[in-house]
């Protein structure tokens, strides 16, 4: 998919139509909503969600569009019967309140977006036609200047009837026979780093300071939420991590070998990931960007601790380095 802007031209995956099934707990019952998430800029994954979310309440045939800017609700408009307190509900829910990503639509042809970041409003050309909204075949796309909206001309078709989760409990089928083994989160969902990946170099003229870069650190975290009895997952990315530590003192005495700096960096990176995993288990509504920030923050705290307060982990490189820091693409352990 080719996306062009005045500043950037890059091939990206088309992700403008993502549909989610939302299960919202209301008292003892679950309410089901289907949403279509339409990001303002599909290439921008650094911030909280900006764009529109079309919400369709499956049980009552109510629809609404909500605009978000950096995770904050800007406005909500209703195009069907207005519900009592839906607006305030969604204002507090946040746009990434989903339990299960069930399907994604893709565009097979060329999709061109032309705009200038921060100047005016985006315009768009859909060379391959309008992305198919299977539940809404007569959808009409409209560029309002604030984002893209889609209106349903006919009644939406529910692609999958909402399925209520089975009652909670334990003990299996009770017949003693084999059970269906679901797909558990496994090694494929997970990445770790090893000391050999780090390349620490002296970055000051007197070798007082050393640093190493890891670019595009990422991992998929996923676990089974016992309350909803569904798997929840996030892809978390940190564009750059700079591990920095003292190297020698002003007399040239070695303070920390690059090897030990790498071992500490490994522990900080991995335990930071572990802390992020733990946070997600405790709060499944944390967004990918919040988890990314947490990963960096905890890695920094651990690295500082291991280096007795002297080292740090930052998202940006140290200033005025005498030697460029090698950019090292993140790879998992062999």
């Amino acid at each position: 998919m080719n996306v062009k802007t005045k500043n950037v031209s890059a091939d990206v995956k088309f992700e403008n139509v993502q549909r989610y099934l939302i299960a919202k707990k209301k008292g003892e019952l679950l309410e089901f909503y289907q949403t279509i998430v339409i990001p303002q800029d599909p290439t921008d994954t650094r911030h909280s969600f900006s764009g529109d979310m079309l919400v369709y309440k499956l049980t009552e045939n109510k629809k609404a569009i909500f605009s978000y800017k950096r995770g904050e609700l800007e406005n909500g408009q209703y195009y069907a019967r207005q519900t009592e307190q839906s607006n305030s509900q969604f204002a507090t829910i946040g746009c990434l309140y989903y339990h299960q990503c069930t399907w994604t639509s893709t565009c097979d042809g060329t999709f061109t977006v032309v705009y200038s970041r921060g100047q005016g409003h985006p315009t768009q050309t859909l060379d391959c036609g309008i992305p198919q909204l299977y539940q809404c075949p007569g959808a009409v796309w409209n560029n309002t200047g604030n984002g893209w909206e889609v209106f349903c001309n006919n009644d939406p078709i529910d692609p999958l009837p909402p399925v209520y989760p089975p009652p909670t409990g334990s003990g299996g089928s009770g017949d003693g026979g084999p059970v269906v083994d679901p797909i558990h989160p496994s090694y494929d969902d997970f990445r770790y780093i090893c000391p050999t990946i780090f390349r620490f170099v002296a970055v000051t003229t007197n070798e007082l300071w050393q640093a190493a870069n890891i670019q595009n650190a990422h991992c998929n975290i996923k676990f089974y939420d016992g309350d909803s009895r569904q798997y929840v997952s996030r892809t978390v990315e940190v564009p750059n991590m700079y591990f920095q530590a003292p190297y020698r003192d002003t007399s040239g005495v070695l303070l920390l070998t690059p090897y030990l700096a790498s071992l500490y960096a490994t522990q900080a990176f991995n335990d930071g990931e572990n802390a992020m995993h733990d946070a997600f288990k405790s709060d499944i509504y944390l967004t990918s960007s919040q988890l990314s920030a947490l990963w960096l923050k905890t890695a920094n705290s651990i690295y500082m601790g291991l280096t007795k307060g002297a080292g740090r982990v930052t998202a940006t490189p140290p200033f005025n380095t005498s030697t460029p820091i090698p950019i090292v693409q993140y790879v998992a352990c062999p």
């Binding site: 409990g169 334990s170 003990g171 299996g172 089928s173 003693g176 084999p178 059970v179 269906v180 083994d181 679901p182 558990h184 989160p185 496994s186 090694y187 494929d188 969902d189 997970f190 770790y192 780093i193 090893c194 000391p195 050999t196 996923k222 676990f223 089974y224 939420d225 016992g226 009895r229 071992l263 490994t266 522990q267 991995n270 335990d271 930071g272 990931e273 572990n274 802390a275 995993h277 733990d278 946070a279 288990k281 405790s282 905890t298 705290s301 651990i302 500082m304 601790g305 352990c333 062999p334």
Partner: protein
Amino acid sequence: MLHVHEARILIYLLSMTTLIQLARDNDPFLKEVKGIIIAPDSTSIPQDIIFIPFEYDNLTSIKSCLSSALLDQKLKAYEIYFQGMLTMTPDLQTKLNSQQYITGIVDTTIFPKSNVKILLGIVAFSKQSLQWVKFSEKTKEYDFQLRIAENSYPLHVVYNVNILGIPQFFETPEK
């Protein structure tokens, strides 16, 4: 003569040995705990497992160990993040799959309606990083039935990293 890839793995394994040794020598918070592992009956590395600390003789078989362990009313089970030990245990998959195990069936939050394998292992935990990073203090607890053949055993599981620490590496019992 070693190929480049083999050499890399060798260097990696050597550095892992150093990392474990470094942890054993310098991490005052490191604690190696013997116990029983409950993991999905699969050859892949599970993300999470259930770990039941239990002191056993290295010559004990899993069957006899489990028989005495499951009679212990005060048995405590912990949900732990297993994959995190890969860094210091690069042969984690081999270690997990090369052991004698018995099978069971559970239906619980981390292993919904699952066939599981039950084996012996040693998990090294450390609370070193917990000095600097706050893990969730909220304890998650749940009960489930472990079914082995015709028998069913109730287990109470706790998830709270602060209790045992962060899992660091995994060892098999020496025979």
